[in-house]
Amino acid sequence: MSRASLRRDGRGHREMRGKELRTSELTQFDGSAWYSQGLTTVVAAVNGPVAARQEDYRKCGVQVYVNRAVRIPRAGGTDRLCVEEQRVEQRRMDAEVEMFLTASIQAVVRLDQFPRCVLEVHVTILADDGALLSVATNALMCALLDAGVPCRTTVAAVSIVALTPEDGSPVTAPTTTTTTTAAPEASSLLSSSLPLALLLDPTRVEEGGDGVRTCATATFVLSNSADGSNNSSGGVLVSQLQTCPRSSMHGGRMSSKDLVGMVALAERAAVSIFSFFRKCNVPLE
């Protein structure tokens, strides 16, 4: 029974992948961070704030450039149109990462202290194995701290996948076998009353889902608490939730209570990321 609740890489539902962080390795930038969670690896480099001409001169402008180390190569033959669509979709995912990181920087960095300046961020995605937005945001946060850019708070980003609960539990199995006529009604009542199962830090296979149980993928950026306590978070700064295709036809609904549960789980997971950041701050002996 306990083995059935593990994921395919051996983690529990609320367990994150191994984290690794390296800072100050790119010497041509003011600050840089190499951050990975599992196989997802992102390099973020920060330049500036530097003087530049822009329209809104009262505060610093933000430019985020997202690149990928590996892109889908071009193809010929009958698959050319499909491969070209995948390339366009990958480029649009880069634009989505750009918008998400720009919103995170505008929320964190005190841009009003640098009028007539531009803060440039170059983000390179070395490997994408799920939870890309949260890994990129964590790498960006470390790069900003490494560059010495004044920030209002530190943030931690967490990705979560919501699944419909399993209906193969032994508690419900004898009731369905005994009462066959009331089985769909009982199963619908059970599926509506049970909360959604949440997977923390999903891999790419878990994000893609099986088409039936996966309801939604979400990424939350949570700020540090003001009093510095380790048991709570300061609130959600940036969030993005998207329901998965092919699952809403099978009754996978997402309500406000499920969103509240996801944010609560993300707040508890952010505490471990903040403690990881603090441990990395200790200099080597």
């Binding site: 329209e55 809104d56 001169y57 009262r58 430019q63 009958t78 698959d79 149109l81 499909c82 669509e85 366009v88 979709e89 480029r91 649009r92 995912m93 880069d94 634009a95 989505e96 750009e98 918008m99 998400f100 919103a103 995170s104 505008q106 929320a107 708070t153 939604a216 979400a218 949570l222 700020s223 300061g234 609130g235 959600v236 700064l237 940036v238 969030s239 993005q240 939730l241 998207q242 329901t243 998965c244 295709p245 092919r246 699952s247 809403s248 036809m249 609904r253 997402m254 309500s255 406000s256 499920d258 969103l259 509240v260 944010v263 609560a264």
Partner: protein, 278 residues
Amino acid sequence: MSLPPATGAVELSSFKQHVIRLLTQSKRLDGRPFDSIRVPHILHENRQDTKINRVLASTLYTDDTGTCVNCIVTGVFGPPPPQHPEEGRLTVEVTAPFFPGYSAFQIEGTLHELARFVRSTIISCLDLTELCVISGEACWVLRVELILMNADGGLRAATLHAAVAALHNLTLPKARLPSGDVVESRCLCFHRIPVAATIGLCGTAGSMQFLLDTNAAEESVADVLLTVVIDETDGIVSFLHHGRFPLLLPHLTDAIDMVASHGAALRSAILKSSSPPQ
């Protein structure tokens, strides 16, 4: 997230100061109350005589303050995607040809993110297996082209409503495959219909004020921006939010409830089919 507001001859910073002064006096730029939405108007263009251009639907989305989005749906036959051979293909393109003064890099990133948002929201409400003709061999390839003629805030909601209005009850015509098989006519249906709204949040003098359905000027001065997409059962289809200060959980649920209270009005306005007189 949104394109900068069109301020005309007024400087952008002075325009923002003017909007902030109005918001502190509990006023909005267009005189609306804080909890009202701009009701959209959908015009369907009937092109029964010009099916030769592969145009299956053409809608024009407008509201009372000048947002104008044109949505054109074209369909051809093509191979299905290799990952899901039993499904059809849907592509979304967003262009903004009438915004030449802004930075091209900024506009391109915004339009790419818009196209991805519209496509991922639509395919989570639409069954793509209805576009399949022969599993693994042939499918309908629908191309949704959204042209932003005028934008006044709420870009995600406007483009999503225009695309949903064009794709709802879309008739895939009777056609012939290159192999000679005849494909029967089919009607495309959503199993849930998404409606969206953008909510701004201003923290003035210590109190939070929600601005429902923000325009471009309010989006440039708002502290927090939320985009909420819900379906008929008030379930969340998509949820995006970013801001200058962290939000706690009651603010998120209040924003969802605010959009849910106007969901029926938005849905009836989008699905009402009105055609111009011939």
